[in-house]
Amino acid sequence: MPRFLATALPVALSMAMSWTLSLALSLALTTPAAALDVLAGVLRVDYPSLLPISRYDLRPGDLGFAGAILADEDNATTGQFLGHSYETVTRSATPETAEAALEALLQQGVRFVVVDARGPELLALSDRAAAAGALVFNARASDTALRDTECRGNLLHIAPSDAMKADAVAQFAIWKNWPEWMLVAGSNLTDQSLAEAYRRAARKFGAKITEERVFVDRGGARRTDSGHVLVQRQLPVFMQGAKAHDVVIAADASDYFAAYLPYHQWDPRPVMGSAGLRPVTMHGAHEAWGATQLQTRFEKLTRRVIQEEDYNVWLALRVLGEAVTRSASTDPEVIETYILSDAFELAAFKGQKVTFRNWNGQLRQPILLYDGRITVSVSPQDGFLHQVTALDTLGLDRPESNCTAFQGGSQ
């Protein structure tokens, strides 16, 4: 026995496990598991919105919540062997009732809240949760600022930032040797900040934006019966006379025009970004790295195909479940410390472990590039190197982030 323990030490060191954690782990393995009941909440904020351009993008009533049910099942299967039980309460709210809904969850004793909301609501909810000592997982908001100046110490980001997604697209374009971009952005604030993420990605990876155009949002319905007739005449004219470019990058966070771009340009070029080849965390046809099992479990449970929102919520609760399993605790502080430690790792059907940036609370994960039917590619791309992990070539890197709310953050 002692012989093997002696050999275990350098291995543990090389894996950069902290001593206290490996001690805690061995204790958890050798002592009888203590019973733990894990109570979590999912709060989804539904915004007034127009119908999407495509019926495929209609939001099912259980969007996101379905991921929570699957995560509870997955966590409970593991938990049964350790005496851990999992229960997740789901709530939907409007932007106006979101705070009251959070209050109700906190009253119930929930201290782990997955929030599916836009940036402004997310921040307000996170601050209220912080006052109650609760940990928040962001399953939706992609604002890069939330990982930068606006970060919060009790807010972990499961959803990738606009910067991560733009970098994922940019790396693929560079790998393809398509360095000249035409950037077409929407006129809304969120479209413009997404466009800024693509400008930043172009600078970062050496692409050149040869032409920029803004497609103005004039409101109104996004689709009409036989509306394609007009689209086919108007869009090519809008796209006419652009400087030479290899690819069109669409920045349409509000989803009102990008879907119409492919095939309606003046110059025949691939479209990427908000249409064509899109950066996503998951889609219903992704099968690599064992994801088929995730898909079949999800479809058996819900009788529909998984969407990004479902996966993001599932992943948030799996992060929580993994931390409970390894730390044998339900204390939000202990859980967050473990999640941000070097010991934390999780398999998420992405071919490599997902971990957290301990300087801004962002989950590192590969980004799938999806054409609407299959996984075309996965970023980070081959050849984009980083001294810590290739995943840190996506999004804000440590020296670029102005987040100071975390121990590992810049001072």
Partner: protein
């Protein structure tokens, strides 16, 4: 039908030593490639059902069992005629399995259903379905036949199932996405590979009779990104002196000292090296390389790759007759 099979077995045994054959399951090509382990020539390739993955032989070498994952069945072939004899119920999406040293039963991991199916190879009936963790994958049986071990990829545990009453008696947490499990021939140690965790856990029975992780083996290859060092298949030499670990997309097999558990060397193989098997004399180790469609032959004593053999599309598993 069954008497025919037995007649065949008897005639095989009566013929004495037959040439040793290696059988490779080709996951994408839906075929089984047969390799002569003396000449290293491919001598046949036959249909293996849809998405053949886990592959093993009956103890007498007469029957070949193949997990046809997309057919939700185990297909059984004659190792002389390559004819499909019958199928066995496996539960949905069978991936990896082990056979009791007596030849009966089979213990099958059902990745989609969180169960291990125990199938009688003679009556062709399902004896038991054991609920385990999420996405069961790796299977091992202890040399004393007391334990069947299953690893579950999303639960990240090795489950110790008693072969007596099919109940789980112990659960051991290992690193992310445990893929494969195997015992040393003396049964003292169990090795479990964690594909995403990048480690091999070494598990021993403590004095109080509960299994525990006593060491973890990590990997480090200069010039290879750590995230691509993904341990999958494991094979241990009969004397326990060497442990070979296939490192998937790192395209290498690690050679580990059985005593010190130090990694001694990395042998370069084909691409996405997955499962492995020893020849009957233990002299050679064959690896399946899923992304280069070949098998690498490793000289075990020299710890060197000596040959690569082109097989079908995306080879996954390999089983070799033990003469």
């Amino acid at each position: 039908m069954k008497s025919l099979v037995w007649a065949f077995c008897l005639s095989c045994c009566a013929m004495g030593a037959f040439a040793e054959k290696a059988f490779v399951s080709n996951e994408r090509g839906n075929t089984i490639t047969v390799i002569d382990t003396e000449s290293w020539q491919v001598i046949n390739e036959f249909s293996g059902g849809n998405r053949p993955r886990g592959i093993l032989l009956s103890p007498d070498g007469a029957l070949l069992y193949v997990c046809a994952s997309d057919d939700d069945t185990v297909r059984v072939f004659d190792t002389e005629t390559y004819e499909e004899l019958y199928t066995l119920p496996s539960g949905p999406d069978p991936e990896l399995f082990v056979i009791h040293p007596s030849g009966n039963p089979l213990y099958i991991a059902n990745e989609d259903d969180n169960i291990v199916t125990v199938t009688d190879t003679e009556s062709h009936a399902i004896l038991e379905e054991v609920p385990v963790g999420v996405e069961p994958e790796g299977m091992a049986i202890s040399p004393d036949m007391a334990w069947v071990v299953n690893t579950s990829e999303t639960t990240n545990m090795a489950h110790f199932i008693s072969t007596g009453d099919f109940q789980i008696k112990h659960n051991v947490l290992v690193d992310q996405r445990p893929r494969y499990a195997t015992f040393t021939s003396d049964g003292e140690r169990l090795f479990v590979s964690a594909e995403i965790g990048g480690t091999v856990s070494v598990i021993e029975m403590a004095e109080n009779g509960t299994p525990e992780v006593v060491a973890k083996i990590g990997f480090d290859v200069p010039g290879v990104l750590p995230e691509w060092l993904q341990p999958v298949g494991i094979k241990v030499t009969e004397d326990g002196s060497r442990i070979f670990v296939a490192l998937g997309p790192a395209n290498r097999v690690a050679v580990i000292d059985g005593e010190s558990l130090d990694v001694l060397d990395y042998i370069i193989t084909g691409q996405r090296v997955w499962q492995m098997a020893f020849t009957g004399d233990g002299k050679y180790l064959l690896t399946t390389n899923g992304n280069s469609n070949d098998v690498t032959v490793i000289d075990v004593a020299k710890e060197k790759a000596i040959k690569s053999i082109q097989v079908g599309e995306q080879p996954w598993g390999v089983a070799i007759q033990q003469n």
